[in-house]
Symmetry: C2
Subunit: 342 residues, 2 copies
């Protein structure tokens, strides 16, 4: 799964992401500027626009994949990119609101290679910024769409937020121990990652005034792609190059119950038994031998399982598209998700 | 300020609150029921419907003042109560979302005489429930109103949430020490308490299809009343009877920077100097002599100041009403807020 994609497709994906970022940026900056201080300053820091002291950063952080899905979905449904910019910005704001809250819950100190907001300003302010970005997302969506589309879009976005809360609850439960099987893991990933990518695509279709079956098909495309994204993320978390990913440590060092691990632990092999013992130790007192653990996950079939499930989800995503020819950019993004290495 | 109101007015206020609660209850229960487990169970616990194990509670908790403001504002603007129920439920859900998050930030272990959600299910689940209630509030509002009203209502509600985040940020800052004057305190209270009560009333007017000047007047009424509510709350926090308030300890024991304290500390009196010394001690190591502190706040004029400012705010609220005769129930609620003892 983690292999170099054809240079042309990779170049086109970068181009799409960069174009959408440029289109959405003014709307996002206007939204963040409307926040009272210090929420404005914290929000711009989290979005990678400036340092904690307000100095502008040289380049943007984050992939902006979700806004790209919204804009490309609208285009695939026959609308122009400007129609979908408010929805794209709203999805990006919801994504960032959940990142802020998840980082607190998971005690993750690093976000996109920089100190997480809660480590800089403290937990209360990071919670409040998350709440404010959630509110801002809804306001941007409502302000940027005609009333009937706005109400349908808001209902869909907030239903997605509730599904994400449920997914994050399951993820927290998995982190605190107990048995997890591949099916439970997939359900959690659907809530945590699939739901918002599905919503991103569905909103693009809504903005294009598509009929309900098309909106549903775009939702399925995004959800399946989101699952693939998560499974590839899990593979990168173990076998990715820290220099490329920007993530400081292997998921294994933190005892993260990712798909390869869950699959390996459920394999009934000898490797699974040894892995279970390693995962059973207190991460605070015994450092994980991550090279050994990665080898065990691989020999227990966890790597192959995650690769196969990711590929299956990408195929299911593409199968959901009624007219793949009209969705060329979505196909490029799907290819990027399945072959990315960071 | 804390004196018994006339029995008839007090009876009428209780009646209004109980009627509105009964009208809103089905909508709130339907909304909470739509949440996936365990968010549904936690939500119903927080709203006082059942215990942590799911056993139904004998009587409701919480005053439901904000939904009453929404419904009575709609009635004052010439509409029937059913028109405003979705907005009333949405305001109550936002109020509860902020309580859940504030209790985490403030480390408040007791909410309405029962263990706060975060002490029962942990901080991550309490954060997620808050996020889910925020999403649910918006969904209820959009689902229950015609599209053009819904979009105006959602924009107003989310603008209010951002103002509340800013108010809570200031409150957290005050808690962590540093000088606060009466003006700064009033600004914080406007964000934390006034904004949502103003929004509650404005949404009632919006649901009644009122013109912008009427909506603005109702917003002012609610904001001024909300400030009075907060100032009376501060008085109760020091001089209220714990048996009546259900709050375990005086605000003074927790070094809370409430209006009487802020006013007393800024009085330039000898009592202020002694009080400042008492507030300067670490609450973890030296227990506050709350009787002595209360006497100092009073002799430094803090009690009188809070009483006067609360009365002024109630008068300003009533002055904002274009037609007090049409707003009889709002006048009753204003009387209750200014004379309550819990």
């Amino acid at each position: 799964m983690i292999e170099s994609t054809s240079a042309a497709t990779s170049h086109r994906a970068t181009e799409i992401l960069s174009n959408v970022r440029e289109l959405c940026d003014p709307l996002l900056r206007e939204a963040i500027s409307s926040l009272p201080e210090p929420l404005r300053r914290m929000g711009g820091y989290h979005l990678g626009w400036w340092d904690a002291d307000g100095t502008a950063t040289p380049q943007p952080v984050g992939k902006a994949l979700r806004p790209a899905l919204t804009v490309c979905s609208a285009v695939a449904c026959g609308a122009g990119p400007p129609t979908a910019l408010a929805a794209a910005a709203a999805v990006e704001l919801v994504h960032n609101f959940t990142l802020l809250h998840d980082d607190i819950m998971d005690a993750d100190q690093v976000r996109r290679g920089r100190p997480a907001v809660w480590t800089v300003w403290g937990i209360p302010d990071a919670m409040l910024l998350g709440d404010a970005l959630h509110a801002l997302a809804v306001r941007v969506l409502v302000d940027g769409l005609p009333a009937p589309t706005a109400t349908a879009a808001v209902t869909r976005l907030e239903t997605t937020v509730i599904e994400m809360c449920h997914g994050q609850h399951a993820d927290c439960r998995f982190r605190s121990g107990g048995h997890v099987d591949v099916e439970e893991y997939a359900r959690m990933a659907m809530g945590k990652t699939g739901a918002l990518m599905g919503c991103a695509c569905a909103l693009g279709a809504l903005c294009a005034q598509s009929e309900p079956p098309t909106v549903a098909a775009m939702d399925t495309f995004g959800r399946e792609l989101g699952m693939a994204f998560q499974f590839v993320d899990d593979l990168i978390g173990i076998w990715g190059d820290p220099k490329v990913t920007g993530k400081p440590a292997s998921d294994l060092a933190r005892h993260t119950m990712s798909l390869p691990v869950v699959s390996a632990l459920g394999s009934g092999t000898e490797a699974a038994a040894e892995l279970a013992t390693m995962f059973g130790r207190d991460p605070g007192t015994a450092a994980m031998d991550t090279a050994r653990a990665a080898a065990l996950v691989e020999s227990a079939g966890g790597r192959q399982c995650a690769q196969q499930l990711a590929e299956r989800r990408v195929r299911a995503a593409i199968a959901a598209l009624a007219d793949p020819a009209a969705a060329a950019d979505l196909m490029v993004l799907a290819g990027m998700v399945s072959r990315r290495n960071h």
